[in-house]
């Protein structure tokens, strides 16, 4: 199996200059294709080195591995002097009909990430026995404290919300005298509500950061890794690529899209559960 690059081709204005009014006669290149070969990768790597060493913008090679097409099933038969341009992030081809050498048409730029083989680090299994180490326990305690703090903040928030509603619902005592006291109270309550909102947000991000640290230090899993878990539904083992970590009520959740059998990512996202706090058996 080889990788085939297909690129859209644009005609430069130089083409019009050299060949005025010949559009209906000359076969016009519309797309080009090339196989990714080792020699091509070598030349790209060499060009990258040159670019880094000498601080260049672009390196150009002559190639003959490109096929130019005027449509999907029509290859252009005549020789085209084609070149491979390599820049820091992308490659593209340019060409001109045989005796001329200045390029008359160029292909679209292809980001280099499409060519380099995307090798995934090996999938990891979660070793939950590490969770009983001291550092793990300390981290879990921190997370739990943060969670408790957050719980308190949310409780306070809810009760204050009731109070602010009640103050707003108060009827005025008189038309002439201003009710300064209740106004000041309402202001105070609303400012505290805002502070509490900010505090909960800060706590949430803190919890998430702590969870990621826990994952990385103890379980050796970071965002972007692939892990094997057991799905709750049908008890099947499946592979997911971790996209985000969250914590709620004593359980850590690792979310991410499912990895299909051919190695590509699926559309549906799955979740892995890790119980950090042992359940209260008395309840």
């Amino acid at each position: 199996v080889k990788k085939l690059l297909c690129l859209n081709v644009e005609i430069l204005s130089a083409f019009e200059k050299t060949k005025p009014n010949f559009f209906h006669i000359i076969p016009m290149p519309a797309l080009c294709s090339a196989f990714v070969t080792t020699s091509m990768l070598d030349s790209i790597n060499g060009a990258q080195q040159l670019i880094e060493e000498n601080n260049l913008v672009e390196v150009v090679y002559h190639t003959s591995d490109v096929n130019w097409f005027s449509s999907l099933d029509k290859i252009i038969y005549q020789t085209i002097n084609s070149r491979l341009h390599v820049t820091k992030e992308s490659i593209f081809y340019s060409g001109a009909f045989a005796p001329e050498k200045t390029p008359a048409f160029v292909s679209m730029r292809l980001p280099l990430s499409c060519i380099t083989p995307t090798s995934h680090p090996p999938t990891k299994e979660l070793n939950l026995s590490f969770l009983s180490t001291d550092t793990a326990k300390a981290l879990i305690d921190e997370i739990e404290n943060l969670e408790r703090e957050m719980q308190i903040a949310t409780d306070r928030y809810e009760s204050l919300e009731g109070l602010s509603n009640a103050i707003e619902g108060l009827k005025t005592a008189s038309i002439i005298a201003e009710s300064n006291k209740t106004n000041a109270l309402a202001h105070e309550v609303s400012s505290e509500l805002k502070l509490l909102m900010k505090a909960t947000e800060v706590h949430e991000t803190a919890v998430q950061e702590k969870c990621e640290i826990l994952c990385k230090r103890i379980l050796n899993v970071s965002v972007g890794d692939r892990i094997i878990t057991v799905s709750h539904y049908k008890n099947k083992s499946l592979e997911i690529q971790v996209e985000s970590v969250r914590y709620y009520n004593g359980t850590m959740y690792l979310d991410g899209p499912k990895v299909l059998k051919n190695g590509a990512l699926g559309k549906r996202s799955e979740t892995a559960y890790i119980n950090l706090v042992p359940e209260d058996e008395h309840q």
Binding site: C6, L31, F35, I75, Q78, A98, M108
Partner: protein, 324 residues
């Protein structure tokens, strides 16, 4: 033709491929790529041998179009060798237009070459035979290539009596081919004033008919003064002598009366030659031409056309009415 000579001529004809870009009628048989040609040569030799044994005669045009003609079956096969790009059917044009590129993973084709063929002079479609380089004998080539060709040829047999390609080769210097050469020369060669002028005229105007001679070219356009005359310069001459020497062959005027006039007046001989060619194309017979020249035409009530040919202006007048 000898097989080695055919391959030699094919190799030579690849030099004309930059020019064939400008001639949509030209369909060269082998790409100009040298590596490709070297790879394909052994199979081409076997193929030509097999065709020869099957009773085909080969014919090669200047553009490098290789055809094989069989008089008993009345078919002529035009061949074309290409790299196999059947994998392009997997590519979707929509995503390329949307993203600008597409990267797909495919198995490269096992047979890396394709032989396209077409029955010359018929409305058949192009057919394809993919192949690789693993052929050793004439028989295997016959089974692989010629048998399916003959099978496909059944509805097209008996259409041709003579080789079309041979006919075409005799009249290589047609309007289209000379125009292609002119386009190439005006783009790529320095100071070819005659050809550049020629190129400019047929890009901007419709050229109905044209005659080329040793002196220059006579073009009949839809422009108001009708006839345009171009003379070859030194560089035009060297370029044309290299590629289309047919133009410079001395032309013998077939009509006796025109020949007599041209002997007397040497200053507009090339116009008289063009007139002779035009009359032959229109009337198709020398006797008819003589009759036409000595008969009073509606545009020359006082004089018969042959009297007008003494002067340059008169010849112009006659010519402009002949082609219209």
């Amino acid at each position: 033709m000898n097989i080695n000579n055919v391959i030699k001529a094919l190799r030579q004809s690849r030099k004309l491929q930059p020019i064939s870009v400008y001639c949509p009628q030209a369909q060269p048989s082998v790409p100009a790529n040298r590596e490709f040609f070297d790879e394909i040569t052994p199979i081409l030799k076997l193929l030509l041998k097999a065709f020869k044994q099957a009773g085909f005669s080969d014919c090669l045009s200047k553009w490098g179009e290789l055809t094989l003609f069989n008089s008993t079956m009345g078919i002529e096969i035009l061949m074309r060798m290409e790299p196999n790009t059947s994998y392009m059917s997997r590519v979707s044009m929509a995503t390329i237009k949307k993203n600008g590129y597409e990267v797909i993973e495919i198995l490269p084709p096992r047979k890396s070459f394709v032989l396209n063929y077409f029955f010359y002079g018929t409305k058949s479609k192009w057919r394809q035979i993919p192949f690789d380089l693993e052929f050793s004998s004439v028989e295997s080539v016959y089974v692989e290539f010629i048998q399916p060709m003959l099978q496909a040829s059944k509805p097209f047999q008996g259409r041709l009596k003579t080789s079309l390609q041979l006919e075409k080769n005799k009249h290589f210097a047609t309007k289209e081919t000379v125009f292609a050469f002119a386009r190439y020369a005006s783009n790529n060669i320095a100071s070819v004033h005659g050809l550049a002028q020629l190129c400019q005229i047929f890009v901007s105007k419709y050229v109905r008919e044209c005659f080329f001679s040793d002196y220059g070219a006579v073009l009949f356009t839809d422009y108001w003064h009708g006839i345009q005359i171009i003379t070859w310069h030194k560089n035009d001459r060297t370029f044309l002598e290299k590629h289309i020497p047919e133009i410079f062959e001395p032309y013998r005027i077939t009509s006796e009366s025109i020949a007599r006039v041209s002997e007397e007046n040497e200053d507009h001989q090339f116009l008289l030659e063009a007139l002779d060619k035009a009359l032959l194309i229109n009337l198709k017979d020398v006797g008819e031409v003589e009759l036409w020249l000595n008969d009073k035409q509606y545009f020359t009530v006082e004089k018969v056309p042959i009297r007008l040919l003494d002067t340059l202006e008169g010849t112009f007048k006659v010519l402009s009415t002949v082609v219209r």
